[in-house]
């Protein structure tokens, strides 16, 4: 009665999908950084927010961004890296959408 293979399917499916989504997004971030466009997300300020960027930290972040932007890559290489980054993000969202599509029975009829 107990369908052990179902547990394996769940474990494998979640492992595969998490690995694919996380890898693609991480790779996209890395390529973005390589292309000299380091994403700096300034935390929003509101009551109760834990991460609030102090001026000192903001300056430090800006310095890190400048340092990273000064990469040894040429303009063409940077362009390629940027395209790669965008490709990763697109693939990542496609993977998520495909996963959602798979579990909705209404879309298969």
């Amino acid at each position: 009665m107990i369908d052990w293979s179902a547990f394996l399917v769940v474990a494998f499916a979640s492992l595969l999908s998490s690995a694919v989504v996380v890898s693609l997004y991480s790779l996209g971030l890395r390529l973005l950084t390589t292309a000299g466009r380091v994403p700096v997300v300034e935390p929003v300020e509101f009551t109760g927010a834990i991460t609030v960027l102090t001026p000192k930290r903001a300056a430090k972040e800006a310095k890190r961004v400048r340092k990273a932007a000064a990469s040894p890559l040429g303009p063409v290489q940077k362009q390629v890296a940027l395209m790669g980054a965008y490709a990763c993000f697109v693939l990542c969202s496609a993977a998520v959408l495909y996963g959602v599509y798979l579990i909705v029975p209404a879309l298969h009829r």
Binding site: A11, S23, P43, T47, V104
Partner: protein, 396 residues
Amino acid sequence: MDFTLIVALVIALALIFDFTNGFHDTANAMATPIATGAMRPKVAVGLAAVLNLIGAFLSTEVAKTISGGIIKEGDAGVQITPEIIFAGLIGAIVWNLITWLRGLPSSSSHALFGGLIGATIIGVGSQAVAYDVVLAKVILPALIAPLTVGIVAFLATKLAYSITRRDSGKADGRGGFRYAQIFSSSLVALAHGTNDAQKTMGVITLTLIASGMQDVGTGPQLWVITTCALAIAIGTYTGGWRIILTMGRGLTEIKPAQGFAAETSTAATILASSHLGFALSTTQVASGSVIGSGLGRRGSTVRWGMAGQIGLGWVLTLPAAAIMGAFAAGLALIGPMGIVLDLVIGSLVVALLFRRSRLNRVTHDTLHDIDDAGRVVKIRKTPRKASRSDRKKVAL
């Protein structure tokens, strides 16, 4: 007691249960992006509510597990009555409130199953419970899912960190994971709708089947799906305001990369489980992935005592709620007076619950469950500096 009145009562009670479920669990999805500043609280809470609503419509496998699986209702088994389901719900709600007030980690889903099973054993007889289905679709997933999601989250965190690692000391761009968290936490909210809203749908469908208003073996009707989806969405939205108010109390520190990995694993596991009809506790899965992803960071160790406490709370929930459900069913068997007594106790409990929810001072809820899970993993401060000095030593 009027026959249709009891059905209406059960449906109302089930919807209240659904509301509190959404109310509790907003934090599972949205606490992290709010804390890291990825999303404004108003946006996050509204998005979670909408996605829960959508999620409830996506799949009905879990609802079928409850309405057609756990309790035998057909000709082969014994006929279950709405009174018994009523008693089970009262048991589940009472146990939920007790754990909430006493600050015990608990799972509202398991309280629901426990209450139903306990009430059925007393009210109908133990032969009416399909133990094999309970084992295969409730108990085993409860044991296996937190473990597998922990492993998945551990590996995903390792992946995220190793892919973005830049040893030259240059910016690694990990702040960009904050954007990703907007999407991963939205997926968790969607997954929550596909699993938790289903549980109430299952209960209402079971009631309709038991009272002969619906055919045996059929899935939930559209109006049932719609009302349950609305109840959980409104609950999620209402619960969010309380979370925002308690946010200043501080959450376990979760880095954007880690949070993204944890949320992706949580969403993937819940969605896959919903698809196969496993009725999971979303809180347990979220806790498992927070612990797993914490272990995936450098310099982390487990506080086993705390992990044990959480585990014990989880194990206790089902049998304890079963005892409550059995007690309520015992009262209900007396006749109309017993049901009135159950109702009085039940509404007293619900009144208490709403009174407490109106207070902003929260003693214990899901927010703390996840928070506790985060504290299970101890992470050494600034492990990177330590490793860099180690490297220097080697170079010298």
